[in-house]
């Protein structure tokens, strides 16, 4: 359960942006979460809804999570494939010489404010 620690980090960052931008309140936080980022969306949302009560600007904020697909690239055959399905071993040529291209994001994309 490390989602709460990440949520606290997100909330602090958004609260700072809100204070700097002199807004009344934040109505929505939109985040991009990679499917192999180790963040569990349901736990993350629960933690967010609990933690937002203690903030200045996010009390009424809704959380939207955009899940990004994990894709891995193979250096040997130059192919790409879905990480969740095949992990480190390239399904095209069997090579282990691969690296993750997308899917580990925990990114605050944007916020909606009034």
């Amino acid at each position: 359960m490390h989602e709460l620690g990440i949520v606290m980090n997100v909330i602090e960052q958004v609260d700072n942006v809100a204070a700097e931008s002199k807004v009344e309140k934040v109505t929505k936080v939109i985040m991009e979460i990679g499917e192999v980022s180790t963040v569990i969306p349901d736990l993350f949302t629960d933690a967010f809804n609990w933690a937002k009560k203690k903030t200045n600007y996010l009390k009424d904020a809704e959380l939207e999570l955009i899940i990004l697909e994990g894709m891995t690239y193979c250096r040997d055959c130059k192919g790409t494939y879905r990480t969740v399905e095949f992990a480190k071993k390239c399904p095209h040529c069997g090579s282990m010489n691969t690296y993750l291209v997308t899917g580990d994001e925990i990114k605050i994309k944007s916020i909606e404010v009034v």
Binding site: H2, G5, V17, T27, S110, I111, E112, V114
Partner: protein, 224 residues
């Protein structure tokens, strides 16, 4: 309908941590300090191995230890009593990992003017500590026999960020279904560059080899 505007942020929440980690690495390199982040499960033998490493290396280098725990100071006491080097105990107050900010504050609290080698004993956990770069020069990850040789398969990132892996408690291997070669294969699957040392703190095996490796690495950092 309520009027609203959109503020683009587009920042990965770890980016601040990563930026800060780079800064710490740079500052420590300038001060010629080797900073080792020790990570593993609870009960894998981190404190025991650290005591043995420190007692073998304390005549060669000026050592400082940072103990990170959710609570208590049992580890700091053990290290202070058994090694005599300076130790500071940090409490995370519930958090399951050390952020870069906490790492930096602990380094300053420990004091950087009279050390060449600082060891951070991270929170016992195979998940979160791997995600937050502490600014360490290298990461040492322990895998103990009772945990099983399959752990590198189950906790990918921890073994991917390791520069060195120490297999520990090899003295109890006969009681467990632990295969050293399989463990090595699983570590290599995650990270082919990780150096692996097979150790038993009780039987004092493999610890000298790990010390030789660390001596070489620390010397490189402090003689630049």
């Amino acid at each position: 309908m309520e009027e609203y505007k959109i503020v683009e942020i587009k920042e990965d929440i770890r980016s601040r941590n990563n930026e800060q980690a780079k800064q710490i690495k740079k500052d420590l390199a300038e001060k010629k300090i080797f900073y080792l982040n020790v990570m593993a499960s609870p009960g894998s033998g981190k404190t025991t191995l650290i005591v043995q490493l420190v007692n073998r290396l304390k005549d060669k280098f000026r050592i400082g230890i940072i103990e990170a725990d959710i609570d208590s100071d049992v580890d700091a006491k053990t290290i202070a009593e058994q090694t005599g080097v300076k130790v500071m105990q940090m409490h995370t107050g519930g958090a399951c990992h050390i952020t870069c900010q906490m790492s930096w504050e602990a380094l300053l609290e420990l004091g950087l003017d009279d050390v060449d080698f600082v060891i951070l004993e991270n929170i016992g956990n195979l998940v979160c500590p791997a995600e937050f770069d502490t600014g360490a020069t290298q990461n040492l990850v322990l895998l103990s026999v009772p945990e099983g040789d399959d752990k590198p398969l189950k906790y990918p990132l921890m073994f991917e960020v390791a520069s060195v892996v120490a297999l520990t408690k090899l003295d109890v291997a006969p009681a467990f279904d632990f295969d050293i070669e399989r463990a090595k294969k699983n570590i290599a699957y995650r990270n082919k560059d990780a150096k692996v040392f097979v150790t038993s703190a009780v039987k004092q095996e493999g610890v000298d080899e790990l010390c030789d490796y660390l001596t070489e690495q620390i010397t490189k950092t402090i003689r630049i």
